[in-house]
């Protein structure tokens, strides 16, 4: 019985200590950059399952046209959108403990209402290390004139 109590206390103490620790993975930036690449590919392939695993349930997303969207709206929009070519021209990550900020420029090329378009956008994505994995909690793209 005493042994069981000791184990319970140790487990509780261990959980408490671990909960207060920051993400021990020092290579957070490269993991997040890999997820950014996956995001681009998944968006292009309209793979909503892959996208769903990248986004946190409470994702805050602002589309290049200024629309504020939830996670489910982004997934629905991706499914319904016409094919688009997404090229990330540049991207950089900055780590703040369990949070990583990615900034970059992307090029969107597609056809809408039978008219071809080419857009450039500057994006900022916020990633959070949550329950053992990195998830995107916010994303915004601002249209750039070129």
């Amino acid at each position: 019985m005493r042994r069981a109590i000791c184990i319970t206390l140790l487990v509780c103490l261990g959980t408490w200590v671990l909960a207060g620790q920051e993400n021990p993975d020092g290579d957070a930036k490269s993991k997040v950059m890999a997820l950014e690449r996956l995001w681009g590919e998944a968006a292009q392939m309209r793979d909503t399952n892959a996208l769903g695993s990248i986004f946190d349930d409470s994702l805050t997303y602002v589309h290049i046209d200024g629309r504020l969207m939830t996670r489910s709206e982004v997934l629905q929009d991706t499914k319904a959108a016409s094919p688009v070519e997404i090229v990330v021209e540049s991207a950089a990550a900055r780590s703040h403990g369990n949070t990583v900020i990615v900034t970059g420029v992307m090029r969107l090329k597609g056809v809408e209402h039978r008219k071809p378009y080419l857009l450039y956008g500057r994006f900022v994505d916020t990633w959070l290390y949550k329950e053992g994995r990195w998830v995107c909690i916010s994303s915004m793209t601002t249209h750039m004139m070129r």
Binding site: I5, H96, T99, G121, S138, M140, T142
Partner: protein
């Protein structure tokens, strides 16, 4: 006789010991449940307090920008701030502060704001309206923004801010 007495004393002592251990275990369980409940209540109170704190910082930002209070702005931003203006220009903290110094903003009003707290990170999204003078003419801008705040060195600092124009 003696042996029988010793055995019954030992049995009673064992019973007491088992009883005591069970009571200690019960006590520990109750204590742990209590601690967990206090932790959860504390967490929700913390989240609410953090939301209010972040909203206050957002308002302080608006005030400081309108009054060109660079010292106050400096304290609100992390040194690694990434700022994306509504036209897509990427700026560092120093560049943004320099822009604030030279711009002619009279007023910044936040129409809507939502704060989401994730432990040491908070996301704010909202709509702002700014009134300024450009080339001697009054100009009103309206935009949507997302700001990311991180709790660092016992204070909340903005690490990323971005805006995009909103069509009326």
């Amino acid at each position: 006789m003696n042996e029988c007495l010793t055995a019954s004393v030992k049995a009673a002592w064992d019973r007491d010991k088992a009883d005591m251990t069970a009571r200690v275990a019960k006590f520990l369980c109750v204590m742990m449940l209590g601690a967990a409940a206090v932790h959860l209540v504390g967490q929700s109170a913390d989240t609410s307090a953090t939301r209010s704190r972040i909203l206050a910082l957002e308002h302080a930002w608006n005030q400081a920008e309108a009054f060109k209070d660079l010292k106050a702005l400096d304290a609100l931003f992390d040194n690694g701030l990434v700022y994306v203006d509504a036209d897509g220009t990427l700026m560092t903290k120093a560049e943004f502060l320099s822009q604030v110094k030279s711009e002619h903003v009279q007023q910044i009003i936040t129409e809507l704001m939502t704060v989401q707290v994730f432990d040491n990170t908070a996301i704010v999204n909202g709509i702002y309206r700014s009134a300024e003078f450009k080339n001697g003419k009054p100009l009103t801008r309206r935009g949507r923004f997302i700001d990311t705040w991180v709790y660092k060195n016992s204070t909340w600092v903005c690490v990323a801010a971005q805006a995009t124009p909103v069509v009326r």
